[in-house]
């Protein structure tokens, strides 16, 4: 049976579209989404994956087809047709990628805005701050770009402007070689692992004590560098109970791979209980001793209490120990 070629093309097009649509939603490449933000990021990734699958099938398919269809016969010394170009075709394939990236850019902008990336509290727009200072030195109330302490504006993902700030749980994060330290200013708890209640917005103020680090929650799809001398922030709302890894994603030294911690998303009751037990347990002297500058202690001494939490093997710490003595 002789099927007209435009019907074949149509069938191939429909097949590629259906396969792309299916794979774009069922690739299984991302870990569990444990926050509202993660679902949004997964949405844009699925969208991009659909388009990428379509283009991949189209172009790789064309290459494989051409290898078989247009292969030179043995001994054929003649040339192919002299075709130098085709303006309408070139316009079409310039326009198609342009439209695709335009759509992806708009969608990304929307998602990023939803995540709080363009929140003026987080935008780091120091220019506005300076101008505002000149014009109304006392009218701080209407300066939305000013941080609550009025000095420095954090970079990163901020909270949505609609949310009342007292609803947000604030945690100060400090990254040091090779541990994360969490300080809860409301309760004074200082800990090496992060506990948060479910369904409540959490705002992390991130600092670095020595070199660059990056605070990454893979299941929450969010990451922010910790920069010495600057404060950055991340805001998110956990929607799923459980334990999730906290990973350092910026090269911070030899044991960068061991700089890990755990995020516990708990029910409000479990969280309150944890707060209570820790507030009682953390007597003042202990708090001071943990909060002192880690510099005078050697790396392995400092790391010792965190070994278990960081998931680093005891062997690694021993290596660190040996190394310290070599130095």
């Amino acid at each position: 049976m002789n099927i007209p070629s435009n019907i074949v093309t149509l069938l191939i097009g429909v097949t590629i579209t259906l396969v792309s649509l299916w794979y774009g939603q069922n690739h299984g490449l991302l870990p569990i989404a444990a926050s509202e933000e993660a679902l949004q990021v997964d949405g844009i990734f699925n969208f991009m994956m659909t388009i990428a699958t379509g283009l991949f099938l189209l172009i790789e398919g064309a290459l494989i087809f051409m290898i078989f269809r247009f292969r030179r016969n043995e001994g054929d010394e003649t040339d192919g047709p002299h075709i130098e170009g085709n303006v309408p075709l070139e316009i079409v394939w310039t326009a198609i990628p342009a439209v695709i990236v335009f759509m992806i850019a708009i969608y990304s902008f929307e998602v990023y805005n939803q995540m709080g990336g363009l929140d003026p509290m987080a935008a780091g727009d120091t220019g506005t701050q300076e101008i505002a200072h000149h014009h109304s030195p006392t009218g701080n109330a209407n300066l939305i770009a000013l941080d609550s302490n009025g000095s420095e504006i954090a970079l990163g993902l901020g909270s949505s402007p609609e949310r009342a700030e007292d609803q947000t749980l604030m945690v100060e994060v400090n990254g040091i070689q090779y541990a994360w330290l969490f300080n809860y200013p409301d309760t004074g708890i200082l800990t090496g692992e992060l506990h948060i209640p479910i369904n409540r917005e959490v705002n992390l103020k991130i600092k670095a004590g020595d070199v660059l680090h990056a605070f990454w929650l893979p299941e929450f799809r969010i990451k922010q560098d910790a920069i010495p001398g600057r404060e950055t922030q991340l805001t998110f709302t956990a929607t799923r109970l459980g334990e999730y890894p906290i990973v350092c994603a910026e090269l911070c030294g030899a044991y960068h791979g061991g700089m890990k911690s755990t995020l516990y998303v708990q029910t409000q009751e479990e969280y309150d209980q944890w707060v209570q037990s820790n507030t009682l347990a953390q007597t003042e002297p202990l708090k001071e001793s943990v909060a002192t500058n880690p510099a005078p202690t050697s790396q392995e001494q400092f790391l010792e209490p965190f070994v278990e939490q960081m998931g680093v093997e005891a062997e690694t710490v021993n290596q660190l120990h040996a190394l310290h003595h070599e130095m």
């Binding site: 844009i44 070139e90 992806i104 990304s108 922010q224 090269l251 791979g257 061991g258």
Partner: protein, 561 residues
């Protein structure tokens, strides 16, 4: 680009042979100013460094076969990682692009040599000392802050290793600037009289774009490294937060060069592919001007996308949006190229020899790097995968797919011209098969690894990632093995290969119209442009191996008259 002979064959006397016709092997170890010798020097040197950088990669992959740091110490792992990146970028792929440019540009435009032959030799002779500084640092105290050398880590992780690294990059960067200047002037000023810019081979266009990027970007990197050096040695605080400096400023300066550097690495091989595909598909390149202009567009856009490497560092939201837009637009000129190459193959008479296999392999894997490139341009997704194995997979697809497969394609394509002999086709195909399987097995699993939560630059990782890491390691071993047939083929064929004749591919660009290897001053007679670089399919009377230029010119001239 159909060209007709515009003047009869030259009646000039052939140039008297005052210089010997061919080089001695010892010339390749001297300060020789012949662009062809310099081209080979670049090529061989860059491949030697690639074997060192590749060996480092194999040690790293062996280490990563298990989650614990049990093969090498984590410090040593970081040193290997830093040197692997630096060597592969600055001592393999960039010099290999310069190798082709040196060898081919004067031949392609009908010139005797580069515009500044001595400067050209100086540029090459800065590479070996630059490379040796890095190798020596391994014996003293190698740098371990990654090839990006972000402060403050680079300021606290070993002074001498870091300083040697800076000196090495400054030397290699200077070499790159001198080379770029030379390519620019040569392409612009040394073309044979009849050749306008639109009858230049596309490789010259891509080198034009590359040279512009080198000249604009590299000095900024040099400035950043000199300031970093002050911080390191003189105790200043340009980037050191402990003294009030700003480490983010370093990142801006570093990426202002190092993003365009990606295009400095791949643009020459975009050019190579634009030369290889038409010859072996026997068809004109599809959309000559679109491909030529897209090189310039990539160069221009490449200069305004650098902050996409900093989406998770100290970059305000509006800046992230700006750089997201500019980064995504790059997909348009790269898309034009990919579609143009596919359309060149479409309806052609594809000869599936080794250069063509690598050429098609190049398109197919660069495509994956390009698609993931658009993904990481999207800020919300990049925030998740930044500094993870997703990025490692992405840029290895871009650089292996867009750089190294193009490099191999070019090496096989021009091997007959450079050596005067043919390579062994069977070994070439084995090389291709192993490389293609090896790189896909190595770099494809890195994407899910990164998305699932594996950060990069680590010697120890969560055991749940082990399975995919083992696949990557097996792939890396296959890629390593693939080098053997290549080396055997090259060494054996240089001495024992079948003589190639002047034009075994019946190609139309100027370099094939002279002897193989070309005479010392390239063309025995004043070269004449008798056809456009891609005029396949017009004149069935193609230039065959035994036919001399004189005979062909006589024919062409007779047809015109």
């Amino acid at each position: 680009m159909t060209l007709q002979v515009e003047r009869p064959p030259s009646s000039q006397e052939p140039k008297p042979h005052t210089v010997p016709h061919q080089r001695k092997w010892t010339d390749y170890f001297t300060f020789c100013t012949d662009h062809k010798v310099i081209g080979i020097q670049y090529l061989v040197t860059s491949f030697m460094f690639s074997f060192i950088g590749g060996a480092m990669a194999e040690v790293m992959r062996t280490e990563l076969a298990t989650p614990n740091p049990d093969v090498v110490q984590p410090e040593f792992y970081n040193q290997l990682m830093t040197l692997h990146g630096t060597i592969m970028l600055f001592l393999w792929i960039i010099p290999a692009g310069a190798a082709f440019a040196n060898y081919l540009i004067p031949l392609m435009i009908g010139a005797e040599d580069m515009a500044f032959p001595r400067l050209n030799a100086v540029a090459f002779w800065m590479i070996p000392p630059g490379g040796l500084l890095l190798i020596v640092s391994l014996l003293i105290d190698a740098p371990q802050a990654g090839w990006t050398s972000y402060p403050p880590l680079s300021l606290v992780s070993g002074q001498w290793g870091e300083e040697l690294w800076i000196l090495s990059i400054l030397t290699l960067g200077t070499s790159s600037i001198l080379g770029g200047l030379n390519f620019l002037v040569t392409i612009w000023k040394m073309r044979m009289p009849d050749m306008d810019v639109y009858s230049m081979p596309l490789f010259c266009w891509s080198m034009l774009a590359t040279a512009l990027l080198v000249l604009i970007g590299t000095p900024v990197l040099a400035a950043a490294l000199i300031l970093l050096s002050f911080d390191l040695l003189a105790g200043t605080s340009f980037f050191n937060p402990a003294g009030g400096g700003d480490p983010i400023v370093y990142q801006h300066m570093f990426w202002f060069y190092s993003h365009p550097a990606v295009y400095i690495m791949v643009l020459p091989f975009f050019g190579v592919i634009s030369e290889v595909l038409p010859v072996h598909a026997r068809k004109p390149i599809f959309g000559y001007r679109a491909i030529a202009y897209s090189s310039l567009a990539i160069a221009f856009l490449g200069l305004i996308v650098w902050a996409h490497h900093m989406f998770t560092s100290g970059t305000p939201g509006w800046l992230r949006m700006f750089f997201m837009a500019t980064t995504m637009i790059i997909a348009v000129p790269t898309g034009i190229k990919i579609f143009g190459w596919c359309a060149t193959l479409w309806g052609g008479k594809i000869n599936l020899n080794t250069p063509m296999l690598f050429g098609i392999g190049f398109i197919s894997s660069f495509l994956i790097g390009g698609l993931t490139g658009v993904m990481v341009a999207s800020v919300p997704f990049d925030i998740h995968v930044h500094d993870t194995y997703f990025i490692v997979g992405h840029f290895h697809y871009v650089l292996f797919g867009g750089g190294i497969l193009g490099l191999y394609s070019g090496v096989y394509h021009w091997f007959p011209k450079m050596s005067g002999r043919m390579y062994n086709e069977t070994l070439g195909k084995i090389h291709f098969a192993l490389t293609f399987i090896g790189i896909n097995l190595t770099f494809l699993p890195m994407h899910p690894l990164g998305m699932q939560g594996m950060n990069r630059r680590v010697a120890l990782y969560d055991p749940k990632f082990q399975f995919l890491n083992i696949l990557c390691t097996i792939g890396a071993y296959i890629t390593a093995v693939s080098v053997l047939p290549f080396v055997v083929n090259m060494v054996w064929s240089v001495f024992k290969g079948k003589p190639a004749g002047r034009n075994p591919w019946r190609a139309l660009t100027m370099e094939w119209q002279t002897t193989s290897p070309p005479a010392i001053e390239n063309f025995d007679e004043e070269p004449i442009l008798w056809a456009g670089p891609y005029d396949y399919g017009i004149d069935t009377q193609m230039l065959d191996e035994d036919q001399s230029v004189d005979e062909l010119l006589a024919q062409a001239s007779a047809e015109v008259n």
